[in-house]
């Protein structure tokens, strides 16, 4: 007996949802990202004004000074939606896990000199509170921003920040031989030690910034643009020759994440700036306000970490300004 398998082709009547088709064109197949992003947020027929802020509708374009003709221009270049985001991070988590296992198995902690160990505990571990602040701020973006394109990406960004905080905590626990007291000490440093106070003030002040795009600029552009290169790039370069090599192994997730998420941060900034001259003006004003404050806070911390704090911070600033100018600003 021969078996003849025939296939019947059933042509779908529609390739995707109507609201997605209106954006990408009829008859085109939409990607999962497009379907999970475009026009998901309600934009009309709201019920009551929120009791916690009755000046605005629950989703309201007037919550920021930035004006956009279409809020879905803020697409995420990484095209993250739930499943590919989770898969990407799971893979990175596996690598990070391996690094920690490797360090423990080979007793690599012994290669880290006592001075550097102390320095990481005192001058890096308190940064977990900063990352937690960044988590809060990005969740604020999720609740205040307009359009699901930005809100989606900000949700993932917020979760990443919690992940960063957890990695820093883990480094603290590893170096402190699993004594929770190292975290209490780090918290006291964050709260009391004078070099941390400018950054702590910035983080706490950022919690009450009302304009959500201003908050995006302050947290994701300026603060991260100074703090991350100092802690997870230049500092690690400086200690790697002094027996601090394994620090970069333990923070590998954070530095790859920073590079990757900057693609989204830069694109978002670039889209807002290219929209109109007014947007560019407003963003430039915010940047001019915040850059000197963040620079000062970073300089205070650089003193704990590197030999030439002034030079290091001016290098960070130079790279940062170049990055902004590449995205359409003239600073």
């Amino acid at each position: 007996m021969t078996l003849d398998i025939k296939s019947v082709e059933i042509k779908p009547i529609r390739q995707t949802y109507g609201h997605v088709a209106r954006r990408i064109g009829e008859g085109k197949a939409a990607t999962r990202y497009e379907e999970a992003t475009y026009d998901l947020q309600a934009s009309t027929n709201f019920h009551y004004l929120p009791t916690y802020n009755s000046k605005f509708e629950i989703y309201d374009e007037r919550k920021t000074a930035i004006k956009m003709s279409d809020w879905y221009k803020f697409l995420d270049p990484r095209q993250y939606y739930y499943s590919n985001y989770v898969m990407t991070r799971a893979k990175q988590q596996e690598v990070a896990e391996q690094n920690f296992t490797f360090i423990e198995k080979r007793d690599l902690l012994l290669t880290m000199s006592k001075d550097i160990r102390e320095q990481v505990l005192k001058s890096v571990v308190p940064l977990r509170h900063y990352e937690w602040g960044a988590n809060m701020n990005n969740l604020q973006l999720v609740s205040e921003s307009y359009g699901s394109a930005l809100a989606n990406a900000a949700t993932f960004h917020a979760e990443d920040r919690l992940g960063n905080a957890q990695y820093i905590t883990r480094i603290g626990l590893l170096l402190g031989e699993n004594e929770g007291s190292v975290l209490d000490e780090a918290k006291q440093i964050w709260l009391q030690e004078s070099s941390w106070q400018p950054l702590r003030k910035l983080v706490e002040d950022s919690f009450v910034v009302e304009d959500w795009f201003e908050l995006f600029v302050l947290q994701n552009v300026v603060m991260d643009g100074f703090i991350h290169p100092l802690f997870f790039d230049l500092y690690e370069q400086e200690i790697s020759s002094k027996g601090g090599n394994i620090q970069s192994m333990m923070t590998e997730f954070i530095s790859t994440w920073f590079e990757e998420s900057n693609k989204w941060v830069d694109k978002t900034l670039n889209v807002a700036i290219s929209e109109s001259e007014e947007n560019k003006q407003i963003i430039t004003t915010w940047l001019n306000n915040y850059i000197p404050l963040v620079e000062k806070a970073t300089l205070a911390l650089a003193g704990n970490l590197v030999e030439n704090p002034t030079e290091t911070v001016s290098l960070i600033k130079e790279n940062f300004i170049a990055r902004l100018n590449k995205n359409g600003l003239n600073l």
Binding site: S7, V8, E9, I10, P77, R78, K263
Partner: protein
Amino acid sequence: MNGNNVLLVLQAVEEAKPMVEAIQKDNPQAIIQNEPAMIKITCPSKLIVKADTMEELIGREWDPQELQLCLVTLAGNVDEDYDHFTIYWDN
């Protein structure tokens, strides 16, 4: 079908969509046919999938070996490197 055509058949899965888009971009002569569960692509003498174009479309690094994961079949000689996947006829 023209004897000089190269052929690439991919599974009709999510990962193949940007590949088809990249192929259309870099090979204007390519003919795309949507078959049940697969996508048949034919092109005169040469078909190239560029990693650069893919990376632009998906926003992350793309290794041409990823193409193998949704590959059904192909006809032609293969030239594969870190930045491209090319199918061609030598004659």
